[in-house]
């Protein structure tokens, strides 16, 4: 019947969202090109830009492999071995996600002031980002049917060879996805690197904004950064491979028999303990220590509550916007899959590769030049959040839609329920948990977003991240502590949500 006409409105909405996502590119690239090839080359082909690139590259080359090794090893220990207190370790290993990386950097700077530059940057980013690998690897290892591995062993492979031949290929999407996440975060990272005084392209763009507002030099640097992000996306697609790694059908799945650690138990526990101390205890302990010295009463008087509320307000609006923006695309992908919808999806996912600083710079330039009515408004900063975080909402929405297959709606309609009643009584209840997860994920990301907010916050708007950053930049550690503590407290639900994701993933 009208299967082809039905999604037209939704397709239009999805196309609008995709257009919104590529908007930053459409602003930054022309602005960079506007200076002309000669001056662009003169600006970009400088030793300084080479140094920024080298710094960015060094960080990627060290932090990405380190995160993969730590993340996979920790995931294997927790999910596939007879490690004591595995449940507790799982939570503790995920918990660093609740500590914004720039808060962790602040902690390390006060604990070990000598630890600046590359070493400090690599250490803090690794400790903050390894959970991006740990999470998917743990979810994958937990549910991996041990049958193949056992079959490989029975065919004469050594235990190690069996793992390499059967487990690693299955881990490949989780690893390449995790590595991509770490890379993109590194490319977009500002707070940690600024605090560690390690200059990369992103810190240089912020610096250029500080001296020149939205000038072409900033756009030139942003274009280089964008190119790196796209390169990372492409590399990930290649690394992911085209081989099918999932089974057809669920089969009779069982949990793998945990590997006995034997004499390795103590070293394994030691490794995890060190990791948790460095990634979690140091930041939390430091924030706690400074909190004890902080003038809480003064902070309350000077607007800690108000700042928290406005952060929550922005977080909710941002989550609402990102979820709404993800809805048409997720719906199409789930219900009307086609070449076009796949393209729309890919384009929307570009947003996840856009650093906050690029989106911020693009929207400032766009608003001040062409869209003055939204300049310096909440709407603009919410738009930035939507662009940055649509992919997070999309992933969860698709899971939700998958949980509510069209057959159930059809059954409901055949039983005489109208469209609205079906939506309210069948679709929404089934979707709700996933939608909520996506909503919370975006809200948390907004709550600790720093770079785009620095560029876009309307006059008079303050957030926890901005207030923390102001105090921390002046090395007022005690003054920054209440804001850090508040951000961590607000992010705790994230850890719990993600932990559930590992446990439930099939």
């Amino acid at each position: 019947m009208s299967a082809s006409s039905r999604p037209r409105g939704v397709a239009l909405a999805a196309a609008l969202v995709a257009a919104l996502t590529v908007l930053p590119l459409l602003v930054i690239l022309p602005s960079a090109v506007s200076v002309g090839a000669e001056s662009a080359a003169a600006y970009l082909l400088r030793p300084r830009v080479g140094q920024l690139l080298a710094h960015t590259g060094m960080l990627v080359v060290v932090t990405v492999p380190a995160s993969i090794i730590i993340g996979v090893l920790a995931a294997w220990l927790v999910e596939r071995t007879a490690l004591p207190w595995a449940g507790l370790w799982r939570t503790l290993l995920l918990a660093p996600l609740a500590v914004p990386a720039f808060v962790s950097a602040y902690a390390w700077v006060t604990v070990a002031p000598w630890l600046t530059g590359f070493t400090g940057a690599a250490l803090v980013t690794t400790l903050s980002y390894y959970p991006f690998v740990f999470l998917p690897a743990a979810a994958m290892l937990r549910t991996l049917d041990p049958g193949d591995e056992e079959a490989a062993r029975s065919l004469g492979l050594s235990p190690t060879a069996a793992v390499v031949r059967t487990v690693l290929p299955r881990l490949r999407p989780a690893l390449s996805g995790g590595a991509l996440l770490v890379t993109l975060h590194l490319l977009a990272e500002f707070g940690v690197l600024q605090m560690m005084r390690f200059q990369t392209l992103t810190t240089a763009i912020m610096q250029q904004y500080a001296v020149g507002f939205s000038d072409a030099a900033g756009s030139l640097l942003a274009s280089v950064l964008l190119t790196l992000c796209l390169l990372a996306l492409v590399l990930e697609l290649l690394a992911r491979g085209r081989r099918r790694v999932s089974k057809i059908g669920l089969g009779a799945q069982r949990r793998a028999v945990p590997v006995a650690l034997g004499p390795w138990t103590a070293p394994a526990l030691f490794f995890l303990a060190v990791l948790v101390v460095l990634a979690l205890v140091v930041p939390l302990g430091t924030v706690g220590r400074w909190l004890a010295r902080a003038d809480i009463a003064g902070d309350l008087a000077s607007g800690l509550v108000q700042v928290t509320l406005s952060t929550l307000g922005l977080a909710l609006l941002g989550a609402l916007a990102a979820t709404a923006a993800a809805l048409p695309g997720a719906w199409l992908l789930n219900r009307h899959r086609s070449g076009l919808t796949l393209l729309l999806e890919r384009v929307t996912f570009l947003g996840s590769a856009l650093p906050g600083v690029v989106v911020g710079l693009a929207l400032v330039t766009l608003a001040v030049t062409w869209a003055r009515p939204v300049y310096q408004t909440v709407a603009l900063v919410i738009m930035a959040y939507a662009i940055l975080f649509v992919p997070r909402a999309m992933v969860s929405l698709r899971a939700g839609l998958a949980a509510s297959p069209p057959e159930l709606s059809e059954a409901s309609r055949s039983l005489g329920q109208g469209g609205t009643a079906t939506l309210v009584r069948v679709v929404l209840p089934l979707m709700a948990p996933s939608v909520l997860t996506g909503f919370v994920l975006v809200a948390l990301a907004v709550g600790t977003e720093l770079t785009a907010t620095l560029l876009l916050a309307p006059t008079g708007v303050d957030t926890l991240a901005l207030a923390f950053w102001r105090a921390a930049s002046e090395l007022d550690y005690a003054g920054a502590a209440p804001y850090a503590a508040m951000m961590i407290a607000l992010s705790v639900p994230l850890t719990l949500l993600l932990r559930r994701q590992i446990l439930e993933e099939r």
Binding site: A324, A379, L423
Partner: protein, 346 residues
């Protein structure tokens, strides 16, 4: 069949409404509201937040005129105002350093400051153009670690830091507007050649910090024996718990040295202001005895520039600093930034 999509579309359509409703909700009444409000004096400020806030509150208490402050950084905000053009929400611009104001001045975006306001500042400070007024002053200093270096071994001139023997021994925050103002002074007084080679030496010799406070704390911790910064961070820390400066002392270069440069914080009224009268009133307040006292009492430790208003007694008198004589109208931060870009600092 088409009913199914209505909730989706309705949600999308409702989004802007929800956004504006929330933004509107924030607007009502409170001074910290989101969008610029009508009949509220818009103050763009790259001065320290606390000082600006104290001034704005004092002004509102006195006149009943509501104010809103947008906080930013010197050069960024100057260029922002220029780019905003006629539609800029800003009525008043307050800077940390005058070069940010001359960016706006050269773009022709400033209205002349009332002569009575200009007359409130001490002689010899106001720019020749009369398009903006000083509102405060700060002096360049060398901060040094008393355990790492003796007073006798300090450089005689800031220019001496270019000497290879100082390699790795001094800190500075060249990314900040404060430092760029110092370089603007050097550029105006010593010319491009000398400034460029000094900056080139900086890239080799100096340890780069994010801001003056970080520089001071690094010197205090003994990371580097000396650092270039402004005076007031040190006096503020000394007046507080001295955690960032207990091991340090200040050296004023004097003798008209580029290292004795005194930077003016500037105030100006935008030509595009829709509240020009109130904006002029605000500048008159800021440079007048009341505003100057508010600033001194805020503990910012910047120099007061108003006639007859004493700065904090802990500071050496402004007249005793032997600053180089530079017309503030000639300071050009764009030239400094392109020079620093050339040299590879930015």
């Amino acid at each position: 069949m088409s009913k199914n999509r209505h909730p989706l579309i309705a949600l999308l359509l409702a989004l802007p409404l929800a956004l504006s409703a929330c933004a509107g909700g924030g607007n009502s009444g409170s001074q910290d509201a989101y969008a610029p409000q009508p009949q509220t004096l818009q103050i763009y400020s790259s001065q320290h937040v606390n000082v600006t806030k104290a001034l704005a509150e004092g002004f509102t208490a006195k006149t009943g005129i509501k104010t809103q402050v947008r906080d930013g950084e010197d050069a960024s905000m100057g260029h922002m105002i220029v780019k905003e053009g006629d539609a800029s929400p800003a009525d008043v611009f307050l800077t940390e350093n005058s070069p940010a104001m001359t960016v706006v001045e050269r773009a022709g975006r400033l209205a002349p400051v009332q002569p009575a306001t200009l007359a409130q500042a001490r002689e010899g400070l106001a720019p020749s153009s009369g398009l903006w007024t000083p509102i405060a002053a700060r002096s360049t200093v060398l901060v040094y670690n008393k355990d790492k270096i003796s007073e006798a071994d300090l450089p005689k001139s800031m220019m001496d830091l270019a000497d290879p023997k100082w390699a790795g021994k001094w800190g500075a925050a060249p990314g900040g507007a404060d430092f760029q103002a110092i370089v603007a002074g050097m550029l105006a007084e010593r010319g491009e050649q000398q400034t460029r080679s000094w900056l080139e030496a900086l890239t080799k010799n100096a340890k780069v910090y994010n801001n003056n406070i970080a520089t001071m704390k690094a010197v205090n911790a003994g990371e580097v024996p000396v650092g270039i910064m402004y005076h007031y961070y040190w006096y503020r820390d000394q007046a507080g718990d001295k955690q960032g400066s207990a091991n340090t002392a200040l050296h004023f270069f004097g003798g008209g040295d580029p290292g004795a440069f005194v930077s003016l914080s500037a105030g100006g009224v935008l030509a595009s202001s829709d509240m020009p009268e109130q904006a002029q009133q605000f500048l008159a307040y800021v440079t007048g005895p009341e505003g100057q006292r508010v600033m001194v009492d805020s503990g910012s430790m910047e120099y007061a520039i108003g006639k007859g208003v004493p700065s904090d007694p802990a500071l050496p008198p402004l007249d005793s600093l032997q600053a180089p004589a530079v017309d503030a109208s000639r300071l050009n931060s764009d030239d400094v930034i392109s020079l620093m870009t050339d040299v590879g600092i930015l």
